[in-house]
């Protein structure tokens, strides 16, 4: 499996973003609202570039195949994660690898953030597995938390605290402790 890396977006990524932004079947892995297709250049310029923590998910140095963001909330210690991956790259551990990279770096980048939380539909088994494999802990099922496509949905809330142990990368065998 190719190495998953994260980097900042720039406007030149607009075309690549179309691979997940234009697919009507792709809904955001972990976002509460259904993913709204946006005009990529405007989205990168107006939302991504000014955002406190927004990264492109890349495979082995190729162009982006998805996006991941961590957004501080009204409580300084708490930030919310969102991740979207192009459908062609589902089911291969890319999301899990991206999440592990996020957790290894985001706490140093966002001053004061101790908690990264993720809300995911109870029925989104693939997203829940990715979060669990990346080391997130399930805390609660929040009942009737939001409306998605006209239906009330229960959302599971997961968190990773800055002091939680990072999950070792599975492709890597380390002989040192």
């Amino acid at each position: 499996m190719n190495t998953v890396t994260l980097r900042r977006f720039d406007l030149a990524d607009a075309d690549a973003m179309m691979s997940w932004a234009s697919d009507p079947v792709v809904t955001a892995f972990l976002n509460r609202e259904p993913y709204e297709p946006v005009e990529p250049i405007a989205f990168i310029r107006d939302t991504v570039l000014p955002h406190p923590w927004f990264r492109a998910i890349c495979l082995a140095g190729d162009g982006p195949v998805g996006e991941v963001s961590v957004t501080p909330t009204e409580d300084r210690c708490r930030a919310e994660l969102g991740i979207t991956l192009a459908r062609a790259h589902w089911g291969m551990g890319v999301a899990t690898a991206a999440l592990k990279r996020v957790l290894a770096t985001v706490y140093a980048d966002l001053d004061g953030v101790e908690r990264v939380e993720a809300l995911v539909d109870v029925d989104n088994a693939a997203a829940r597995r990715a979060l669990e494999k990346a080391g997130f802990q399930q805390e609660a099922v929040m009942r009737s938390y939001c409306v998605v496509k006209g239906l009330l949905r229960d959302m599971v809330i997961y968190s990773f605290i800055s002091t939680d142990p990072l999950v070792e990368r599975t492709m890597h065998v380390s002989l040192s402790s």
């Binding site: 409580d75 708490r78 609660a140 929040m142 939001c146 605290i161």
Partner: protein
């Protein structure tokens, strides 16, 4: 132990600043609140004018979820006042906002009295959320998340009256 007399709810006015200061300045009451205790009636008045009154009149969106919080002056603890106020508030908002489905509240893990208030008012304990809030610049706190979803069962009827 049931409270004597009854608990009613009404909207705030600016004239309530002195009364609000009574509990908003009490460190025991605001212990688990994010903002610092008030020390002067002007802070209480500003809070009502800038935060409470506009908030009451904001009806722009129709969110399916809302969150509830409460404070009771120390002199009135231990008599079921908070439980009755929370029950009355839940009943009122579910009636006034037909779009509301979920009412949620958090209580500090070290505030069992507040957790009991929510449980007695019919809320369901959903789980502990770690490092969820920062209190007054001190280290972050774990909280318990509670919710009351429309259709959860009867909210205890009055002994409480609600009037505007």
């Amino acid at each position: 132990m049931e409270a004597e007399g009854y608990v009613s709810l009404r909207e705030f006015t600016e004239a309530d600043a002195e009364a609000l200061l009574e509990w908003a300045s009490d460190p025991r009451v605001v212990r688990f609140q994010r903002r610092d205790a008030y020390t002067h009636v002007d802070e209480a008045r500003r809070y009502i004018i800038d935060h409470v009154l506009p908030f009451c009149r904001t009806r722009g969106t129709a969110p399916s979820a809302a969150s509830l919080g409460y404070l009771v002056a120390r002199a009135h603890w231990g008599r079921g006042v908070a439980t009755r106020a929370v029950s009355a508030a839940a009943e009122a908002v579910f009636a006034e906002w037909p779009w509301l489905v979920r009412l949620e509240a958090i209580a500090d893990v070290e505030n069992p009295a507040s957790q009991r208030v929510l449980e007695k008012a019919g809320f369901t304990r959903e789980g502990v959320l770690r490092r969820y809030v920062v209190l007054k610049g001190r280290p972050s706190r774990d909280v318990v998340m509670f919710s009351f979803v429309r259709g959860d069962g009867e909210v205890k009827p009055a002994e409480v009256a609600t009037h505007s």
